[in-house]
């Protein structure tokens, strides 16, 4: 069990505060301890035995883990890694939320994964190229099976293997960093060649462990195919479509131009205000911190409603779930759809 932070990662932060305006929880509270800089100050205090480690529990849970602080950090602080270490230190034993324990059990066990896929019409297994494997995603195969089906249809060369476990992102983000890395390595061994994923969160975690050259998120991969897309029509005009960035895809992998490029071919692309800002799904956050998650997303829902869009495209299943839930609650008619499914509609 981890007790200390990586000192070299703590040392990178010079407390300049350039991260403050980028942080959604700092925006909510205005409190220093709810900012990336403040949290690093707290981590340092724990590192130097000035604060008991468990005092970090509240902030380690309040942080979304969106990593919006990383691209704006001139010093190159790897806040995402520090947060994972913070959760590894604090979310142990009885301090690990029950929901997380349950989710871990599901994705760690064969029976759990079997149950996730049970009666769910996700892409059928098939052998095609040895150099390109589709990753189903644990919860995406259950919640949004049409996404993997769309990709399988778009790309006949993609292999779909039934023997694939979880990539370990869930573990890494929720206090089991080492286990999360092992799971990513194991998945990297099971699926040969390039792993194609429709989940930004999984892509960033996998890439950080097995190397970005082996991982392709859907939009990254599609733009390289260089296939002209037909615009999608709705009631005789091109669809109006926006995008919700995946935080880890954007802030962790620097992928944000690609999905926009694709959407601009599919319809009238509208940049929603704060498209790059976290939608509050943040992996397990929407389950663990429901109230705060809603506070984070509320402005976004109002903005989407005001824009009167046909579709809002997503590149990560957590975001899809969050936006579907919250838009429905607000009775907004805009449809939430994964980018791959929109591409598939256009190709029909």
């Amino acid at each position: 069990m981890r007790e200390k932070f990586s000192q070299d990662k703590l040392d990178r932060c010079i407390s300049c505060g350039y991260c403050l305006p980028a942080c959604p929880t700092y925006k909510l509270t205005g409190n220093e301890e709810s900012s990336p800089r403040g949290r690093i100050t707290l981590m340092r205090a724990v590192q130097n035995d000035k604060l008991p480690a468990l005092d970090l529990l509240q902030e380690s849970s309040f942080c979304l883990g969106c990593r919006a602080c990383e691209p704006v950090c001139p010093a190159g602080v790897e806040y995402g890694v520090l947060l994972e270490e913070m959760r590894e230190i604090t979310w142990q034993g009885k301090n690990r939320p029950l929901i997380i324990r349950g989710l871990f059990f599901i994705v760690e066990t064969k029976i759990g994964m079997w149950a996730l896929g049970l009666l769910s019409p996700f892409a059928k297994r098939r052998e095609a190229s040895k150099d390109l494997h589709l990753m189903y995603g644990c919860f995406e195969r259950r919640l949004f099976p049409s996404v993997s089906r769309a990709v399988a249809k778009l790309a006949p060369e993609v292999s779909c293997s039934s023997d694939q476990g979880c990539c370990g992102a869930l573990h890494a983000h929720n206090g089991e960093l080492e286990k999360g890395k092992e799971m990513a390595k194991a998945l990297g061994e099971k699926l040969s060649g390039t792993i194609l994923t429709t989940a930004g969160g999984c892509a960033a975690h996998l890439a950080s462990v097995i190397g970005s050259e082996r991982v392709q998120e859907f939009s990254q991969w599609w733009v390289k195919r260089d296939i002209e897309l037909k615009p999608i029509k709705n009631a005789g005009r091109k669809i109006r479509v926006g995008l919700q960035d995946s935080c880890h895809l954007r802030n962790g992998m620097g992928v944000f131009a690609q999905p926009r490029n694709i959407l601009a071919q599919l319809g009238d692309y509208v940049e929603i205000p704060g498209a790059a800002d976290c939608c509050g799904a943040a992996g397990s956050y929407a389950l663990l911190q429901k109230k705060n998650s809603r506070k984070v997303v509320s402005q976004k829902i109002a903005d989407i409603e005001a824009l009167d869009l046909d579709y809002i495209a997503t590149v990560n299943p957590g975001c899809t779930r969050q936006l579907v839930t919250e838009l429905r609650r607000a009775r907004v008619k805009t449809k939430v759809i994964h980018l791959a499914e929109l591409v598939a509609i256009s190709q029909n």
């Binding site: 407390s15 350039y18 305006p21 220093e32 205090a45 001139p74 010093a75 190159g76």
Partner: protein
Amino acid sequence: MSASDLVAKLTALLGSDVVRSDAVSLQAYSRDATPMFEGLPEVIVAPRNTLGVSKIVKFAHDTKTPIIARGAGSNLCAATVPLNGGIVMSMTNMNKVLEVSKSEMIAIVQPGVTNLDLDQLVEKEGLRFVPDPGSRNVSTIGGNVATSAGGLRGLKYGTTRNYILGLEAVLGTGEIIRTGGRLVKDVAGYDVTRLLVGSEGTLAVFTEITVALAPRPEASKYGVAYFEDLAAAAEAVEKIITSGILPATLEFLDNTCLVAVEDFAHLGLDTKAGALLLFGDDGDLVSIEQSVSKMAEIAKASQGCRGVTLAADVAAAEALLYARRCSLPALARLSSLSILEDIAVPRKSMAEVVNRIEAIGKKHGLRIGTFGHAGDGNLHPTIVLDKDDPREVAAAEAALAEIFALPLEFGGTITGEHGVGSAKLPYLEAKIGSVNMQLQRSIKKVFDPAGILNPGRIGS
């Protein structure tokens, strides 16, 4: 008074939503952006209005409790580190823009509004809030006023102090004063407004700030010139200004900074050059076209120039400026500790001074990256060192003492724009003399008879 008494009394006075004293909050407010300074406060308060501030300061006065007003905590002189315990008063809840008057070209803001937010808001009226410190995305107007923050436009437009027309402030007794106002001309009484600007929280706490705005220029244009070394860039700067141009921006970086900035911003800068000069101007299209091309010509003809390129468009220029603002934090990529200084010297001595700084680095076996506002003679030599290497730490201390002494030889100053705070207080007397030191202490006593406002800084 014990810490728990303090918390109980403040809570009774203000309500529990304004007062925090858990170990986590206290720890989070134990430092600002200055390395090597930290201290735990006993309580954090975050008032929402002037009356709240007044109540808190009066309480601090009556109980002789040190109190520090804090904005974003991005200052670089340890001005907001609670080295004496006491109260940290966070002003971030007072973050409203109260009024923007296009016809008077002023805005009235609460102190917790950030510099960038204000500028973006007034942009809608075709106006601009001119002072642009490197930290403008995060720093608050209150903090800018408290340190008379400078920035990249100092040479042509001046610093924060040139843009503050009026203040509402709470004295060390809790009394509320208004000074100055909405007018450009107003000589009724001593210029207390100007005295309070740059007072670093030692004389009063700002609760409302009236700032002068300027019309937003029609256009701006920027370019980059590369030189063999910083001294060559400094010579070119002197030539540019003596040629009769007063440009908005003349910034330079040495190779160490250049490499760090490129590593963060990926702008395709020439990292082989010894120094980079960023020059630019704003105004109407015709005149900036003239001034910028003239600057480019002078730079090109200067000794040691390796090449000049003009930014292709506004986005490219913005990226250059942003990268320049990130020089300091980008330097943190190089090592575990960076100690930044903020000296200013008459421009004509700048080439000599940058050479001397380089010599100091060599002599002590230290890596010093220097960047700065070349047009203002304001230099930020930054020592990057391994904080766990005792040799480097000792060498840095010796080098710093020499760097502080350096500007005084040339009629310069120990701090151009960051402030005195705790970090530079030991060097202040050498700059301003003992009589002036005594005068400053006497002034502080008048505003803050109990000596509670940010003690251990100016006036102490």
